[in-house]
């Protein structure tokens, strides 16, 4: 039963609002798909949601055609996303646990600063990172972008993990100690299993951040072979000429969207649950 009872007009308003929100979010996506599956070179204006001819040629062209973007940019993006997600996960678990459990002198203010940092746009970090990397020899390297991504995703990760760890009753850790478990066993058997929902969220967000990153690799990776699909796609569309070939650009974008959508579909339930982690550790 609903906690709140709506009048008929409120229910109508709610339905209208939901439909509007769905149109707002799904229309661009539908249009992207619609463009991606019409023949290359077809005019995209005036807007028609349903193409007259349906073809998968664009996807094929982008991946394996004569004017291909190829698999490499996607593999690169996956490599950077995954690597930075792993680094972010480890750093967030360590930092989050420290902030959640140790009585740090400036713990609370540190958490606030960390949260504020996570709101900074990637662009704001580009110049300092560029200078730093130029001096340290990380400029143009894959390790460099991975570290840059991880540095961007870790603040929010730490903040989320601190919250997740705080949801785990400290009693359980004490009980584990009493039961004879040292730090390692307590962490492995008690803390980490209970923090899995939080860990999944942090890792997923970090991966998506890395997968979608554009401005950082655009500046930091001049070498085409190591560019992720986001950067490569922009150049690709320019290279193949004839103005902008919208269907090919849409096909490339769609390929970039698929892993993200798949991840969300797989983790949807767990991601939603982190809002109220309580349900995950009942008892």
């Amino acid at each position: 039963m609903d906690l709140v009872r709506f009048t008929r007009w409120q229910r109508v308003a709610r339905a209208v609002f939901i439909v509007a929100a769905l149109i707002f979010t799904l229309l661009p996506l539908s249009w992207l798909i619609s463009i991606a599956i019409r023949p290359s070179g077809t005019a995209v204006f005036p807007i028609t949601l349903l193409p007259s001819t349906v073809t998968l040629d664009n996807l094929r062209e982008v991946l394996v055609g004569s004017n291909r973007l190829g698999f490499t940019p996607f593999v690169n993006a996956a490599l950077y996303g995954t690597s930075s997600a792993v680094i972010t996960m480890i750093a967030s678990i360590l930092g989050g646990y420290a902030l959640a459990r140790y009585n740090l002198r400036a713990g609370e203010s540190m958490l606030t600063v960390i949260l504020a940092l996570s709101f900074l746009p990637a662009v704001s970090r580009i110049v300092p990172i560029f200078i730093l990397f130029s001096y340290s020899g990380l400029y143009g390297t894959q390790l460099g972008v991975i570290l840059a991504y991880a540095a961007g995703a870790t603040p929010l990760g730490i903040w989320l993990m601190a919250g997740a760890f705080r949801q785990i009753p400290i009693r359980l850790e004490q009980a584990a100690r009493i039961d004879g478990a040292g730090v390692v066993l307590t962490t492995r058997r008690i803390i980490l299993p209970l923090a899995i929902p939080g860990i999944l969220v942090v890792t997923t967000l970090a991966f998506i951040d890395g997968w979608n990153a554009f401005s950082l690799p655009l500046i930091l990776l001049p070498n085409q072979n190591v560019q992720p699909y986001t950067v490569a796609l922009q150049k690709y569309v320019g290279d193949i000429g004839f103005g902008i070939n919208w269907p090919l650009l849409a096909a490339g974008s769609l390929l970039g969207l698929i892993p993200v959508l798949t991840l969300f579909a797989l983790l949807q339930r767990r991601l939603v649950r982190v809002g109220g982690l309580g349900g995950a550790i009942k008892g």
Binding site: L172, A175, R177, I178, D179, G180, R189
Partner: protein, 372 residues
């Protein structure tokens, strides 16, 4: 295993209640109940014994060996937390086996020990369940099995019954006591419930504001409370107490005059409600409210401006009518005397000689038992 706490002091500052100069010895196989109001330091004391709380000063000795600096995981303690602290992501079997896994016991042996422990606390049919599928009482049993499975050096129970429904609390407390007697395991049981303390303890330590204010057997504690606080805290309905000087002076003198003729300021006179004799005696009291407590009635009486609580069997309470008069008296053997400033018990003999009682009364002094 003999357990000793020596000179324990824990400061405010930390988030736990303070303890001041506490000494407590628990004999091998003995069950000591530490009882007191919330914030008196009883859980802090358990925290010190288990190794979670660092003290300003003090030592813990297991069989004479100082374990103060050992971390919790190396003390071999069994601990049942108030909220049980069962691992929510493990089955009952995994929960009970966890201490054995931590000790790296081979899986086969561990499983056998788990079955034994589960049988002991009657949760064998629940081994495959998850904690959220258990009732409060069942969780409590699982926590107990987990504490017992590794055959702990000492068993610490922190208000293990307070989250249970009232009707099963009495059963579970009897089971815990029986189990403790059977296993002969040295145990500290913390509670704020004085009835629970009297029911199961070999020795009761009454705590107030970080100090032990009485340490003796339940029988002595009830019959001859060694301190004012213990007298007030133990026993329900509460003991009657009147200051020998002040508004209750007349009543205190009338009741205790024969035995303490020089009853002066600084002295408190106490009588347990069941020892107020109603229906005959030298004093006239006005009957006030009557509360039925089950077998007995709690009758509120007044003499002059002083009030008296009397516990009266139903048959004798029936003729009492509100605002009516009734004769009352107290047999001098049932009188308790306390120093108002120190809270110490005083023994006053027929000649009027006074003697301050030690807080740790020898358990053998009187076995009169409660509610005689």
């Amino acid at each position: 295993m003999k357990l000793e706490i020596q000179d324990l002091s824990v400061d405010y500052g930390s988030q736990v209640a303070a303890v001041r100069g506490l000494n407590l010895a628990v004999g091998d196989g003995e069950l000591v109940v530490v009882v007191g109001p919330s914030g008196c330091g009883k859980t802090t004391t358990l925290g010190f014994v288990s190794g979670f709380i660092k003290a300003k000063s003090g030592r813990v000795l297991f069989d004479g060996v100082d374990v103060t600096d050992r971390p919790p995981q190396q003390r071999g303690i069994g601990y049942v937390f108030q909220d049980y602290a069962i691992y929510p992501h493990m089955t009952v079997r995994e929960n009970i086996r966890f201490p054995l896994d931590a000790a790296k016991m081979p899986r086969r042996d561990a499983e056998r020990e788990v079955e034994k422990a589960a049988e002991l606390v009657r949760v064998k049919e629940l081994l495959a369940r998850r904690p959220h599928q258990l009732s409060g009482g069942q969780r409590q049993r699982v926590a107990l099995a987990r504490a017992l499975v590794k055959q702990p050096t000492v068993l610490l129970l922190d208000e293990p019954l307070s989250n249970l429904d009232a009707h099963i609390r009495v059963d579970v407390r009897a089971e815990i006591r029986q189990l403790q007697l059977d296993l002969k395991i040295t145990t500290i049981f913390v509670t704020h419930d004085q009835a629970e303390a009297l029911a199961i303890a070999d020795q009761v330590a009454v705590m107030s504001e970080g100090r032990i204010v009485a340490l003796t057997s339940p029988a002595v504690l009830y019959a001859r409370p060694p301190s004012l606080f213990a007298a007030r805290f133990i026993g329900s309905p509460q003991i009657n107490l009147w200051a020998a000087a002040g508004p209750d002076e007349a009543l205190a003198r009338a009741i205790a005059g024969r035995i303490a003729p020089g009853a002066t300021a600084g002295l408190l006179v106490g009588v347990r409600p069941e020892h107020v004799q109603v229906g005959r005696g030298r004093l006239n009291a006005i009957v006030g409210l009557r509360e039925q407590l089950g077998r007995d009635y709690l009758v509120h009486l007044t003499v002059g401006r002083s009030s008296i609580r009397a516990l009266v069997p139903a048959a004798e309470a029936a003729p009492l009518s509100a605002d009516g008069e009734v004769a009352i008296d107290v047999d001098p053997v049932h009188l308790h005397f306390f120093e108002a400033d120190t809270g110490r018990r005083l023994e006053i003999n027929a000649a009027g000689a006074r003697r301050v009682e030690p807080l740790e009364a020898a358990a053998s002094v009187s076995e009169g038992g409660p509610a005689t």
